[in-house]
Amino acid sequence: MTERITVDARGSFCPGPLMEMIAALKLAKVGDEVEVLSSDKGTAADIPEWVAKVGHTLVDSTAHGGYWSLVVRKAK
């Protein structure tokens, strides 16, 4: 059974939202989804760029008031 894990990385300067995404995906099963909440606008570009390189699936990218939500499905 797949699950969705949410990491609230708002206000995280170090290690930051993408590093949190990578760490969470390492603990996830194939098919699981990881949602990262980030207050860093750069995340909205960084995470899709990395996901495209590594071959996972970007499920959603949404701008909320003052923060971004990105959802990635583990593909391998």
């Binding site: 170090c14 930051g16 949190e20 603990l27 390189k53």
Partner: protein, 379 residues
């Protein structure tokens, strides 16, 4: 009936909490209204940041260790008895000896561990300095290094986020002093799209790397290491040859956390300001063990410990507490063998590193000795 404070873990976080509370509730300890017990895995206390200096012969191993019983306040009960199961519903911890430790208040400070086994070939093909055995092996490898390709490889997640840069700059100076720079090629790899997690630090370090001729490969998450071919490959599809591979291994939290169903990967879900375990009011979490998305570093453990100390003291003395952790982290950054800088930040304030100087490097060296005052709750 005495209130029982149990601290699981005798590293930096657990030790500072134990000593800090003991120093402020001397009267309650004397009358027996409160007792403090620490259970840990080892009789020796290790100053982990000092491991960075071991490969270069810049610190003696004896400087890294003190007997835990001499670091802890004498009024604290200490047992070398690793926790095997933490039951937060029944307020008790079962240890390796079979002994059961009951508590009224619990501090979990079980730290993190190196997961060299999760990446094929890493244990056989890579060097690291995050434990004493690894640091010793790297010291031996460096002593016989006569030139070639060095890859410095950082993996997520890992503690001490500045260490990958520090080892790179220090290694550069070390090999320059040995006259080997013209025979050596450095490549630094990092998991995300810049060379350090902190954007201002990456912004400073990138031109420094370029000035020194240190190559870098970003978006590099290690998939496998081939010790025979001496190659390291990434999930992103890049393969690099090496003669000497220095890795910062991926980390996970302690096994006892997973065995107790307290958190995936050994990280305990923790409120980012109260430092209480999510779902508990009498369980605090300190240091690497939390799942809070901030640096896993000694200073984080120290500042979190300060918050927990104040709240536990208030609980024991006044029956309530109100101190919140603001996310403070402070890291020295060695930028070579003779210079250093530092960064600090919290949940609201972004980092802003100062230009490296010899004075900050000296202060870092001084702190390597002053640490024992921090651990005792004096600094």
């Amino acid at each position: 009936m005495a209130k029982k404070l149990l601290i699981v873990g005798s590293g930096m976080g657990g030790t500072i909490v134990a000593n800090g509370v003991a120093r402020q509730i001397g009267g309650l300890l004397r009358t027996g209204e409160v007792n403090i017990t620490v259970i840990g895995n080892t009789p020796m206390h290790l100053y982990q940041p000092g491991l960075l200096y071991v490969p270069f012969g810049r610190i003696h191993e004896s400087e890294l260790f003190r007997e835990q019983t001499r670091v802890l306040d004498r009024r604290i009960n200490f047992h070398v008895d690793p926790a095997k199961h933490i039951d937060v519903e029944k307020n008790r911890v079962t240890a390796q000896s079979g002994r059961v430790y009951d508590y009224d208040y619990l501090v979990i400070a079980t730290g993190s561990r190196l997961m060299t086994g999760v990446i094929p070939g890493m244990a056989e093909g890579a060097h690291w300095f995050y434990d004493l055995e690894g640091a010793r092996k790297l010291r031996t490898a460096l002593a016989s290094f006569a030139g070639g390709k060095i890859v410095i490889n950082a993996n997520a997640p890992h503690k001490c986020p500045v260490a990958p840069l520090e080892i790179t700059f220090m290694l550069y100076d070390y090999l320059r002093n040995r006259g080997l720079l013209d025979k050596t090629e450095f490549t630094y790899t990092y998991p995300i799209g810049r060379i350090h997690a902190l954007e201002p630090v990456a912004h400073w370090a990138k031109p420094e790397f370029e000035k020194l001729g240190i190559k870098y490969e970003t978006f590099f998450n290690t998939s496998a290491i081939d010790p025979q071919k001496k190659e390291i490959s990434s999930e992103e599809g890049v393969t690099l040859p090496y003669d000497l591979l220095i890795t910062i291994p991926p980390h996970q939290g302690s096994q006892v956390i997973e065995d107790s169903n307290l958190g995936k990967g050994g990280w305990v879900p923790t409120n980012r300001t109260t430092l209480q375990r999510e779902g508990s009011t009498n369980v605090f979490v300190v240091g690497d063990t939390t799942n809070i998305p901030i640096s896993k570093a000694g200073s984080t453990a120290h500042f979190e410990a300060d918050t927990v100390i104040e709240n536990l003291v208030s609980i024991f003395k006044e029956g309530s507490w109100s101190r919140l952790y603001d996310g403070k982290v402070y890291c020295f950054v060695e930028t070579g063998m003779t210079t250093g800088t530092y960064v600090w930040f919290n949940y609201e304030t972004p980092p802003n590193p100062t230009p490296p100087s010899q004075m900050i490097h000296w202060f870092k060296l001084a702190y390597n000795r002053m640490y024992w005052l921090s651990a005792r709750g004096l600094l």
